[in-house]
Amino acid sequence: MSSEEQVIRASDVSESKKVIVLNPVGYPPKVTPKPMAPRLDTLDGKTVYLVDPRFDDSDLFLKQVRAWFAEQMPSVKTKLVQMSSVYTKDDPKTWEEIKANGDAAIIGVGH
């Protein structure tokens, strides 16, 4: 429910019948743009990390993604990794490994 999605309107009624009320909605943070990583020219010869957030059998899905790459794009090297702990926690150790040894990442399946 962001403010731009809410309906703020005035009706065509006499001023005497209008009521002044306060808005019950809190204050959202200012949206800060974040840069995105440059995309790859091709996946050929690249290492793609498949990141399992360890949620609701996501590892089983990623194994099928890995199988697809092996069959359809064998030039792509895939590496299936699990997040270090529960998916609600950040995992800089794993992200550093991906940055150091990988070219791209696929993460899922999350909410």
């Binding site: 005035a10 009521v19 809190g26 959202p28 800060t32 991906i98 791209a104 696929i106 993460i107």
Partner: protein, 441 residues
């Protein structure tokens, strides 16, 4: 969320895969996170419980949102160049006006309903006069920041002031003298409108002199709709949570699959300190008996109940109840004073801590069963493999070895009820914190 982190912070092109029911959530979260062009792909819901063959069909099939092949979208997400407008949509400044545009009462009621600012029950319109009266019952200034709240760990925090809390308190129909209790709930920063798919609710236990001052109920029907303070304080907690955290709208900012009726007033009641044989809950948590407090629990879902504490098989009966709880939600005993005294008679539990210790020692389950629970797999097993205690030790247990289901510090006891009989219940929930009401007077 993690996909955006890998992509933006670590500079690795990333595609996130989600199930299709989260389409609006993903679009919203990426936008307010400053990455509206983040690359993501959807597969059908659910993934959980599907066979390898079925999951391969997801991979070979189409994104149910776009209708395009899943793997084609993944590959394009990693290779399609950024077109320079990846930041489009993130430069707007969102702000919340103090007032709603004046209108008739009828139209304003419709507006609040359509904007999802209510719990779909009629509200009291927060006029300036009503809000001012609410504000007169605290020494804190209207523009003072009370806290920050969000519906899930993956969303942004929103901020709120004393006046914003007052607006929601008026809407709930709360009397102005309840306001310090409601401010304390807001200061807990624990949302009563969590967006988890598990449909959790919150629970509120009020302790201390404030119970008498505002006329709360801790006796007969305390958890039922028979007391104005219990009803409207709990309702205010729900309304302020949804409005001050940025919404609670199904499919967007609320994803509870089944929902939960406990959410209507967040199971709000006072502890029956006068008839309890034990220390009040807030005293267990470091406050003086003369302090007034609110204690907030979240994750409330599962409930078990029984009558009495039988002489012959009470141990087995209580163990059965504990085994029936979800292993991820620790038990809080809600005991009528009759049941509380029976526990003393049967087990010699002359303190709450002794009953808690007994429950901790007797809530047992074979290790293989425990680790196979989906919620344990999702939330505990990863922490065990990461080396966190006590779970890493539990992980070493043999498959048929009985292991403890809960942590000692997560089990609680509260006394409530009017002694019309010795019924009692266990509610599965997570204690979050106890907040002083006195500091918000």
């Amino acid at each position: 969320m993690h996909g955006m982190t890998i992509d933006s912070k670590y500079g690795v092109p990333t595609v996130a895969v989600h199930t299709h029911v989260f389409e609006k959530v993903v679009q919203s979260v990426t936008r307010v996170s400053g990455m509206p062009q983040a690359r993501y792909v959807f597969v059908p819901q659910p993934v959980m419980g599907k066979s390898a063959r079925e999951l391969r069909a997801y991979v070979d099939g189409n994104d149910p949102v776009t209708g395009r092949p899943v793997m084609q979208e993944i590959i394009e997400g990693l290779t399609r160049p950024l077109n320079g407008d990846q930041l489009k949509g993130v430069t707007f400044e969102r702000s919340t006006p103090r007032l709603v545009e004046p209108d008739t009462e009828e139209n304003l009621h419709r507006l609040f309903l359509e904007n999802n600012w209510t719990d779909k029950l009629p509200i009291i319109l927060p006029t300036e006069e009503r809000v001012a009266e609410m504000l007169s019952h605290t020494s804190h200034k209207p523009d003072e920041v009370v806290g920050h709240m969000r519906s899930t760990a993956f969303r942004e925090y929103w901020e709120y002031t004393v006046e914003k809390v007052a607006v929601n308190a008026v809407m709930a129909g709360a009397r102005p003298d309840y306001f310090p209790v409601i401010l304390a709930l807001a200061a807990s920063e624990a949302s009563a409108r969590g967006s988890t798919t598990s449909s959790m609710a919150a629970m509120v236990v009020v302790n201390g002199p404030i119970r008498h001052e505002v006329g709360m109920n801790w006796g007969t029907g305390a958890m039922a709709p028979y007391n104005h303070a219990n009803a409207t304080i709990g309702r205010a907690y729900g309304l302020l949570s949804q409005n001050l955290q940025g919404g609670s709208v199904p499919g967007l900012t609320y994803m509870g699959s089944q929902g939960n009726n406990y959410m209507y007033n967040s199971v709000t009641f006072a502890e029956n300190e006068e008839r309890s044989p034990w220390e009040p809950f807030h005293v267990q948590h470091g406050f003086k008996p003369t302090d007034s407090t609110v204690s907030v629990f979240t994750g409330c879902r599962s409930t078990a109940f029984t009558l009495g504490v039988r002489e012959k098989h009470w141990r087995e009966h209580v163990r059965n109840m504990l085994r029936g709880m979800d292993a991820h939600s620790a038990p809080t005993f809600l005991l009528d004073p009759i049941a509380a005294r029976l526990f003393i008679d049967r087990g010699g539990f002359d303190t709450k801590e002794k009953l808690i210790q007994w429950a901790y020692d007797n809530a047992l389950m074979p290790a293989s069963e425990y680790w196979d629970y989906q919620l344990i797999q999702n939330y505990i097993y990863p922490r065990a493999t990461f080396g966190e205690e006590p779970w890493v030790s539990k992980l070493k247990a043999a498959a048929d070895e009985l292991i403890r289901m809960f942590s000692l510090e997560d089990i609680h006891v509260v006394v409530v009820g009017g002694e019309t009989n010795g019924y009692w219940r266990i509610i599965g929930c997570n204690y979050r914190k106890t907040v002083s009401v006195d500091e918000w007077r």
